[in-house]
């Protein structure tokens, strides 16, 4: 008996050692490089082309009225394992009409594995179906069929609606029973616990959620919740399970037979601003030329890039809102050039476009009420809620950090002009005039000698070397002068001192370049609005005469269950009675998806 036990132990030990060896083999350096599947691009090891990512796009509902916002959540996934991933940091979202033209575009900074945004539906849109598509820059290297899509329907009651078809009553998949537990084929179970399914107007509702795997272990899931009028959902609403585990999508996600030429870089920090710089006389690229990107504003935010063989350049931008950018060669003697920027958004659409929109006649009454609700909401919302844009603050830090000297003009007596200010107040800087042109020079802060080369002169963050124009800026317009009296290296380029003139407006005080320059407004990250809804926690607010006719009662794109798999959320009903649908869906860290819905009646 002892011998049998011993043999059994050796057998188990043998299997364990074999298993360990195999797993170690997989993780040994070089194994995956030797795998031909991973080196199919010219024998290149670990070809970056093999990495694929995908997105899942989710909206708060399916049907909208113009003037409303589409609330969205984007999940970023590793396409191979369908697991949440935070590789690309920028996600592009477009709303395409039936002709495939974008009618609205967003550029979102999503540093985490998921993010959210709101997109306003302009009242210029016609009624019909629209396609929302989402992608990353890296995904643009592959067929657009691999992007994430979602069709939404838009009603514009203020424009001709004759083109809209009508359909008969579609059998409702839900019979009004509350659904308290949702499970997916991937094994993630959501349990929704609430006290009842019937509520009064302006009543608080608290829901508890528990996420577990198929054997009951708690799961930390990344969820979203939407509660909207039931008539604004399609009967067969596409949910997260359809897209994350769609067989069609998985076919698309396979590596292509022919690896495409790398055209788009992934965006691992901010938006990659790319383009080419060419000689305007010969149309030849300005290769191996140092060019400077600068943004017009009170802070100096410059980047230097040495162009590639074909005149290509790449800059990283992580600002939000519209910025005015200037691109110019570092050598001011180079003047005959023009810059072409690559478009950020994908131009083609090799994927199906949304079909015609049919109104479900059985819902006409409810939809008509939703249209009225939208109009009432748009009247009362400004008085009721403070739904402000939550855009990240623009970085106001100069690339050179703290200057050695910061001369605030208001700290001194008003002098006649900038020439006098430099002479009397600004240390380590002097003006010289040669051949009728003025130049500025900086003394080396180490030994007090003058640098041999001209300093970098900035006006409101932009390199500008026409010193005579700078000296003519009105004293009333100038705010401060900053001086760096040391050599400064920026992306490998050396400047012998820096002088930065900052105006009160921060708009370059109307200075004109003496040669053509690339200066263009550029929208980096879109400003993100967040969903706000009223709270009727006190009687005074509850009895407020301000009408509340929200079509979407609640939208929370950032709900997460804790280590115990539990979380909860609260919201308030509006003045509008009727049936509402609550939907919770999301993904676990290992890529399991879940979806659950529940009907709520407000009486």
């Amino acid at each position: 008996m002892k011998r049998l036990l011993h043999i059994g132990f050796i057998s188990v030990l043998y299997k364990a050692v074999c298993l360990l060896c195999l797993v170690l083999l997989c993780w040994m350096p070089g194994y995956s490089q030797d795998n031909p599947q991973n080196s199919h691009v010219d024998g290149q090891e670990n070809s970056p082309y093999d990495f694929r990512e995908s997105l899942y796009l989710q909206t708060d509902r399916d049907l909208y009225v113009v003037g409303e916002q589409v609330w969205m959540k984007v999940y970023k996934l590793d396409a191979l394992h369908k697991k949440p991933d935070d590789f690309s940091k920028v996600v592009y979202i477009e709303l395409l009409n039936q002709a495939g033209y974008p009618v609205n575009q967003l550029k979102l900074h999503i540093p985490d594995k998921s993010g959210s945004a709101g997109l306003t539906l302009s009242d210029t849109l016609s009624s019909g179906n629209y396609l929302l598509r989402a992608y990353t820059s890296w995904m643009k290297n592959y067929p657009a069929g691999d992007f994430a899509f979602r069709t939404i329907s838009v009603i514009n009651p203020f424009r001709n609606m004759e083109r809209i078809g009508v359909s008969g009553s579609v059998p409702d998949g839900e019979d009004g029973d509350t659904c308290h537990t949702g499970q997916t084929d991937s094994g993630l179970i959501l349990e929704l616990i609430s006290d009842s399914g019937m509520y009064g107007a302006r009543e608080g509702i608290r829901m508890n959620i528990r996420a577990t795997d198929s054997i009951g272990n708690p799961v930390e899931a990344d969820l979203s919740v939407s509660v909207s009028r039931s008539c604004l959902y399609n009967d067969h609403r596409a949910n997260i399970m359809d897209q994350v585990h769609s067989p069609g999508k998985e076919e698309h996600a396979l590596p292509p037979q022919h690896v495409p030429e790398l055209e788009y870089l992934p965006e691992l920090e901010g938006v990659v601003l790319s383009g080419t710089i060419l000689n305007s006389m010969s149309d030849k690229p300005l290769a191996n030329e140092e060019i400077i990107l600068s943004l017009v504003g009170k802070a100096a935010r410059c980047q230097v890039y040495r162009t590639k063989e074909k005149g290509n350049f790449y800059f990283n931008l992580d600002d939000s809102g519209v910025q005015e950018l200037v691109i110019q060669p570092a050598d001011s003697a180079v003047s005959n050039y023009f810059v072409e920027l690559e478009p950020d958004f994908h131009s083609g659409y090799d994927h199906p476009l949304p079909g015609p929109f049919y109104l479900d006649t059985s819902r006409l009454r409810a939809l008509n009420q939703s249209i009225i609700n939208m109009q009432v909401e748009n009247i009362y919302k400004p008085y009721r809620q403070t739904n402000r844009a939550g855009s990240p603050e623009i970085s106001e830090i100069d690339f050179y950090g703290e200057p050695e000297y910061n001369i605030q003009i208001s700290d001194y007596i008003l002098l006649k002009n900038i020439r006098e200010v430099i002479k009397e107040i600004v240390p380590m800087v002097s003006v010289r005039v040669k051949d009728g042109r003025s130049t500025l020079w900086v003394e080396n802060g180490v030994d007090g000698t003058h640098f041999e080369n001209k300093p970098l002169i900035l006006v409101d963050g932009v390199p500008f070397d026409d010193v005579d124009q700078i000296l003519n800026i009105s004293m009333a317009e100038l705010e401060r002068i900053e001086v760096i009296h040391l050599r400064y290296f920026l992306d490998g380029h050396m400047f012998e001192g820096i002088i930065h003139f900052v105006t009160k407006e921060g708009k370059m005080a109307g200075l004109e370049f003496d040669h053509a320059i690339f200066r263009q407004a550029y929208a980096a990250f879109s400003e993100i609005s967040s969903f706000r809804s009223p709270e009727y926690s006190s009687d005074s607010v509850k009895n407020s005469p301000l009408a509340d006719f929200r079509n979407t009662l609640y939208w929370n794109p950032a709900l997460r269950t804790g280590e115990d798999g539990k979380t909860s959320f609260e919201f308030y009903t509006s003045d509008m009675t009727g049936e509402y649908t609550l939907i919770v869906e999301g993904i676990s860290p290992d890529g399991k998806s879940c979806f659950i819905q529940k009907k709520l009646i407000v009486q």
Partner: protein
């Protein structure tokens, strides 16, 4: 198939590994294209303000390209980095490129450095820029600190220099000060008393451990103190 579970595990392990390699390759490709220039060449020129032959606030004393630095998630190996302990600056000696026929020495922008490792006589020493609120009542100001241990509490060492005058000459004396950050509070570790104060929620056990291991805190090596903190972390996880 006799062991389908093993095969599945192997395949899963393989695919995860491959995907990680691809991500790394893609990150490197991105860095090479977006930041092709010497990424350390960002900052002001560094100028010696001391007499190197007399005394230097720079560490390590052996000026060799043996340091490594992590910038925006990318590791750069075998670079010549020195740490100015008096001015709290990371200094980069660019041995590859001459500007105006001069060897360039640059103060690396602290905001792009994730961390750097210097080869000190005590072994590889990892530094990171730690930010502390300016108006805090604590002991520390923002700057580079050696990171010794990051368990339940953080054990850091401040490498600094004192400026003195000796025989009419200015000299810099390098010193180290040890700190423990526990639950957001900073404790300067001078001896056993301050250590037990920092780890007050397990003071009897830690005290017992010090006795058992014969550790005299005031003169203990940092590795010994790291062992104490590892013990403390284990206690907290029990």
């Amino acid at each position: 198939m006799k062991y389908p579970g093993i095969l599945l595990l192997v395949l899963f392990s393989l695919s995860i590994r491959a995907q990680q390699d691809e991500q790394t390759a893609l990150q490197e490709l991105y860095q090479d294209i977006l930041h092709p220039s010497d990424v350390l060449m960002n900052g002001r020129e560094y100028n010696n303000y001391f007499q190197p032959r007399l005394s230097s606030p720079l560490i390590p004393k052996d000026q060799l390209p043996s340091a490594s630095v992590l910038i925006r998630g990318k590791q750069y190996q075998n670079v010549m980095l020195l740490y100015d302990t008096y001015k709290d600056l990371l200094v980069y000696y660019n041995l590859n490129t001459l500007y105006n026929n001069m060897l360039t020495v640059v103060i690396v922008n602290s905001n792009i450095v994730d961390e750097f490792t210097l080869q000190l006589p005590s072994g590889p020493t990892r530094f990171r820029y730690l930010t502390f609120p300016e108006n805090q009542e604590g002991l520390l100001s923002s700057g580079f600190y050696e990171i010794v241990s990051e368990g339940v509490c953080k054990f850091i060492i401040d490498h600094t220099a004192l400026k003195k005058t000796q025989d009419g000459r200015v000299v810099y004396q390098n010193i180290t000060v040890r700190y423990i950050i526990n639950s957001g509070t900073v404790y300067r570790i001078k001896g056993k008393k301050s250590l037990l104060e920092a780890l007050s929620d397990a003071a009897p056990e830690v005290n017992e451990y010090l006795k058992r291991k014969n550790i005299y805190v005031k003169t203990a090596e940092k590795e010994q103190l790291k062992g104490v903190l590892d013990y403390y972390t284990d206690l907290k996880h029990l």
